[in-house]
């Protein structure tokens, strides 16, 4: 069941923008997420920095809930699936992954994804440097690519953990994680908790959707 989503037509395809900070492409039964940073809390704890360990568990729980709700065939992760070098949260993730064998999982490698290739393979995860899924090109960091060099494919990416700033009368201002769609590329908000955000400066031509609690709003 999909609730509180916004729909958005991108290059003639209907996308569901979910408040869980994910995109569902119903026609292809494909779910996109970016920047999970699994293992981050464990990495910190391993190095003596006491992040509550429930953080890692909550990322997985949220992912599981989403998969149960949407029941996609294919989960595509736009980079930074795992935060660091190996720690026990990877095993926790793989244990979870093997309970959903029927789900296809693909990872477009991000700058944080530094594990050995075999680990992804034994975890039944397909890995790609970039992934073509017409009319889209899926990458982690869009700054290394341009639509013109990629046969005009629209680029979908993650990496920067975008947030948008809103201003109101009476000198009010707030920021929220957001989905960003420009002329040639789009950026997904980070799925993981305990990840920071980066405020983007959209122009009038761009489309921005913010995530406020459990809703997605179009703001322009």
């Amino acid at each position: 069941m999909i609730s509180n989503a916004s729909t958005f037509n991108l290059c003639g395809n209907r996308f569901w923008l979910l408040p869980e900070r994910a995109i569902y492409w119903k026609k292809k039964e494909t779910l996109f997420i970016a920047d999970l940073h699994i293992g981050k809390s464990a990495h910190f704890r391993k190095h003596g920095i006491a992040v509550p360990k429930q953080v890692g568990r909550s990322n997985l729980n949220r992912l599981e809930q989403l998969i149960e709700d949407i029941k996609p065939e294919h989960l595509i992760i736009l980079g930074d699936l795992f935060h660091s070098d190996i720690n026990k949260e990877w095993q926790q993730f793989i244990d979870w992954r093997k309970r959903y064998r029927q789900l296809q999982i693909s990872l477009v490698v991000g700058n944080h994804d530094i594990l050995k290739v075999e680990r992804y393979h034994t975890g039944l995860i397909n890995i790609f440097k970039k992934m073509k899924l017409e009319p889209f090109l899926l990458v982690h960091d869009k700054s290394n690519y341009s639509s013109a060099d990629e046969q005009g494919l629209y680029i979908l990416s993650g990496h920067i953990h975008p947030a948008a700033k809103l201003n109101g009368k009476g000198r009010q201002a707030m920021k929220f994680p957001c989905f960003y769609f420009g002329q040639q590329y789009g950026i997904l908000p980070a799925f993981g908790t305990f990840t920071g955000t980066h405020i983007i400066s959209p122009t009038e031509k761009d489309k921005v959707f913010i995530v406020v609690e459990d809703k997605v709003f179009s703001v322009n």
Binding site: V51, K53, Q172, M174
Partner: protein, 823 residues
């Protein structure tokens, strides 16, 4: 004291005589107390010979005990530890102490160990400790993080904490307390002395220094009654009607400051922020180019080489003027300084007096200080300061920090990094300090659990590692964690700094990374008194070259938003009353009269028995201004409280700004003030409850948490020059705040953030007192057509707090996306 039985005393008396000096009575008093084994606090201002007061008895004692051999070279081990709050002072103290031993032919080694000293020197020091070590509280803790550190202190006789008043009110003071508790344990007969300028709570200062187990019989307070005359003069604007109502630079009065610099041999110009000092330096040169070479700039971000050069030139009387910040508040005397100029409100009497004291150092000489207001309202402050300074009243207290969990957490890890500790003994030691006397077992256990298990029970998937138990002793074994901890010892949370260098490698100083990040290649900015062009950045260095333009950005350093002390606030309210009554003959009040008239005509001038509230609207929305004149900190509390109470009457969102005179509530909706006023708006009932509720809706605690995160070691800024290696450990305090808030709401460090807001920012006692005062006042609600002289400076303030009782969804729907700025 019989000098014939004391060869040491005889030697020192002779030394004084040879210089045709006479020790002051208070110096002799300190010597006597020290030699009879007493601890104590010496209350003496800068430039009164306080260094000799405590250096001499150490030498007297040494000569007394080694009358025949004291001139012989020997490995005596560390005898005296001299702790100073400022690295810049360490070198001056070193020179002063060295001079005496040289002349007495005592072959002692005197050395510094501060962040400014090379690691080679530090390494050599480890092999053989000098007889005297001059250090900062942070460096003392870094010493305690070394393996086998106890050996360093095995001969230690005495510790002197210099400028104790500077440390007392901060977590650096707590750090000093902890360091002392360790040293006392290692050397039970240690002589401990503090030196403090005059503050309101000297007795308490002594107790904090010596800890709770100290026998009061065994400790003294000695006051140096060194007479000093003080002359305060305000620099007044010619035409006050054209003088700005707000602002904090004050360069408008620069033409009137120039003649003061010219007339005096040497002048210190104190500004409140580093950016202000850069601006003043630049504009002085612009106004009078021939000053080039004879004026200099001094602030904490400049390289030590530059700072040292400025200090040295001051000593030698080569400089006509130095523009500085609090970086020159303290220190050994700059003898040639004749005059001091204070730009903008010093916010407190004690600081003003301290700065004034930097001139006319010879005892009996007159200290002269000029006050330069930066906006019209500061003229009232000027009048108040003058009264306070000349009547010697209202010196503020420095409140010691109580039970900061973050500092204790850091300290425990420090000891775990070096030789490890056993919890039971250490608990006794820690609770013997003033700061942790009320620390209970439950809190202690929480911190122990936090550093050993990361605050939670370990489970299969968890690999938390930091402090581990090894045969009853708690240690850090991981080399990386050890190294990281040693790098982050300290309690001053600062932004990540980038060093600024010329292309040839010459080092100018350091600037916050975010400022450099805001520049593009080719942009120019003012730093170290020069206009510089950014050429490139490489890792943590910004390479620059001289630019030939005066149009350059000035880094606006954070901070510098101190609050008026409560004593100053009271004086200020009284001055305003005198102005209304016409009973004062202060020239400052006469000068500001036209502005006060405008305030009176547009609204009213609030007397001591009334609270003025101004209500007005603009295209930004509905504004309410309250003027309790209680200082910024109290206004932070009252404004949050008032905003919270009004927000309970209807769903509404506020943007809140404040200064030392009042605060503003701004909303896009009409504010039900009349209803609120009939509803006990200023009642002190349910004060704590309401403040707590308001805290949840503001960012105050979140901001406090930033410092706590750094001190407790949750945030690591990286090793110098190799930031990448630690990139996967980057995070921000607000991320920590959110996850603790969600998963570990009873985390003591999180609690501490709230406690700190309550005790420092929303000081409950002061808040309650202020509310009671307001309750006895008549409330005067005025509708004004425009922003009055009192309201305007608050209205233009960009730094704002927020509080809302509306749902996010409702708020978002009235807001607009911030788009890219078209430049």
């Amino acid at each position: 004291m019989n000098s014939t039985e004391q060869p040491g005393l005889q030697r020192i008396e002779n030394w004084f005589q040879a210089r045709q000096w006479q020790p002051f009575d208070y110096q002799r008093e300190v010597w006597q107390a020290y030699l009879s084994g007493k601890n104590g606090l010496l209350n003496a201002p800068t430039g009164s010979g306080k260094t000799y007061a405590l250096w001499m008895p150490v030498l007297i004692n040494w000569i007394n005990e080694h009358p025949n051999t004291y001139k012989e070279l020997a490995d005596n081990g560390l005898q005296l530890l001299w702790v100073t709050p400022l690295r810049a002072l360490a070198r001056d103290i070193e020179q002063a102490l060295q001079k005496v031993v040289d002349e007495l032919e005592i072959p002692w080694q005197i050395a510094r160990r501060t962040g400014d000293v090379s690691s080679y020197k530090k390494q050599k020091m480890k092999e053989q400790m000098p007889e005297v070590l001059i250090t900062t509280p942070e460096s003392l803790h870094i010493l305690m993080a070394q393996k086998g550190y106890k050996n360093y202190f095995s001969d230690l006789e005495a510790v002197v904490i210099d400028e104790w008043h500077e440390l007392l009110g901060s977590k650096r003071g707590t750090q000093t307390e902890l360091g002392l508790s360790r040293l006392k344990h290692l050397r039970p007969k240690l002589n401990i002395w503090g030196i403090s300028a005059t503050i309101g709570n000297l007795r308490e200062a002594k107790q904090v220094l010596l800890g709770v187990n100290d026998d009061p019989e065994n400790a003294v307070i000695i006051k140096a009654n060194v007479e000093k005359n003080l002359e305060v003069q305000s620099v007044l604007p010619e035409d006050v009607e054209k003088f700005p109502w707000s602002g904090h630079l004050g360069t408008k009065l620069l033409p009137k400051v120039l003649p003061i610099i010219e007339e005096n041999r040497s002048t210190l110009i104190f500004t409140n922020t580093r950016s202000q000092s850069e601006v003043w330096f630049q504009q002085l040169l612009e106004a009078k180019p021939e000053l080039a070479g004879t004026i200099a700039l001094h602030h904490g971000s400049l390289s030590k080489k530059i700072r040292r050069w400025v200090e040295q030139s001051l000593h030698e009387g080569k400089l006509k003027a130095v523009v500085c910040t609090s970086s020159l508040d303290l220190g050994v005397d700059f003898a040639p300084v004749e005059t001091v100029i204070q730009i903008g409100s010093p916010k407190g009497v004690a600081r003003f007096m301290q700065r004034a004291g930097r001139s006319g150092h010879q005892p009996g000489a007159t200290s002269r200080i000029y006050f330069v207001p930066t906006n019209a309202l500061e003229l009232i402050e000027a009048a108040a300061l003058k009264t306070a300074a000349t009547q010697q009243i209202a010196i503020e207290d420095r409140e010691p920090v109580v039970k900061p969990y973050d500092v204790l957490t850091q300290y425990l890890i420090t000891l775990a990094v070096s030789d490890g500790f056993s919890p039971n003994t250490l608990y006794e030691e820690v609770t013997s300090t003033f700061a942790y006397q009320t620390l209970n077992r439950k809190e202690w256990n929480w911190i122990m659990n936090f550093i050993t298990t990361g605050g939670q029970s370990l489970t299969a998937y968890d690999e938390y590692s930091k402090v581990v138990e090894d045969d009853g002793r708690y240690k850090v074994t991981d080399r990386k964690i050890k190294r990281r901890h040693r790098m982050s010892i300290g309690t001053i949370a600062s932004d990540t700094m980038m060093s600024v260098k010329y292309l040839n490698g010459a080092h100018l100083g350091s600037i916050e990374e975010w400022f450099i990040a805001s520049l593009n290649k080719g942009d120019t900015f003012w730093f170290a008194g020069k206009s510089l062009e950014l050429v490139r950045t490489k890792q943590m260095t910004a390479y620059v070259r001289r630019a030939h333009t005066t149009k350059a950005k000035v880094p606006s350093w954070m901070g510098g938003r101190m609050s008026l002390s409560s004593n100053m606030s009271e004086l200020l309210r009284h001055k305003l009353h005198e102005a209304i009554e016409g009973s004062a003959d202060d020239i400052e009040l006469q000068t500001i009269q036209p502005i006060l008239d405008v305030q009176h005509n547009w609204s009213t001038l609030p007397d001591e028995d009334e609270l003025l509230i101004e209500q007005t609207t603009s295209k930004e929305g509905h504004h309410l201004f309250f003027f309790p004149f209680e200082g910024r900190y109290v206004h932070e509390g009252i404004s949050a409280l008032v905003a919270y109470r009004i927000s309970q009457l209807k769903p509404i969102t506020f943007s809140i700004a404040m200064n030392d005179y009042g605060f503003e509530l701004l909303s896009d909706k009409k504010i039900p003030i009349k209803k609120a006023l009939t509803n006990d708006l200023f009642s002190d009932k349910k004060l704590v409850e309401d403040i707590f509720s308001s805290l949840n809706d503001t960012e105050l605690a979140k901001r406090r948490f930033r410092g706590i995160c750094h001190i407790a070691g949750l945030i690591f800024k990286g090793f110098p020059g190799q930031r990448k290696a630690s990139r996967h450990l980057q995070s921000s305090s607000s991320m920590f705040f959110d996850v603790f808030d969600q998963y570990e709401p009873d985390n003591l460090l999180l609690q501490q953030a709230y406690d700190e807001v309550l005790s420092y920012q929303l000081d409950e006692v002061r808040l309650r007192k202020a509310l009671r005062r307001i309750q006895s006042q008549t409330i005067n609600l005025k509708n004004t057509e425009r922003f009055t002289p009192l309201a305007f400076p608050i209205m233009v303030d960009r730094l704002r707090e927020r509080l809302s009782s509306e749902s996010l969804t409702d708020r978002v729907q009235r807001m607009q996306l911030q788009l890219e700025k078209h430049t």
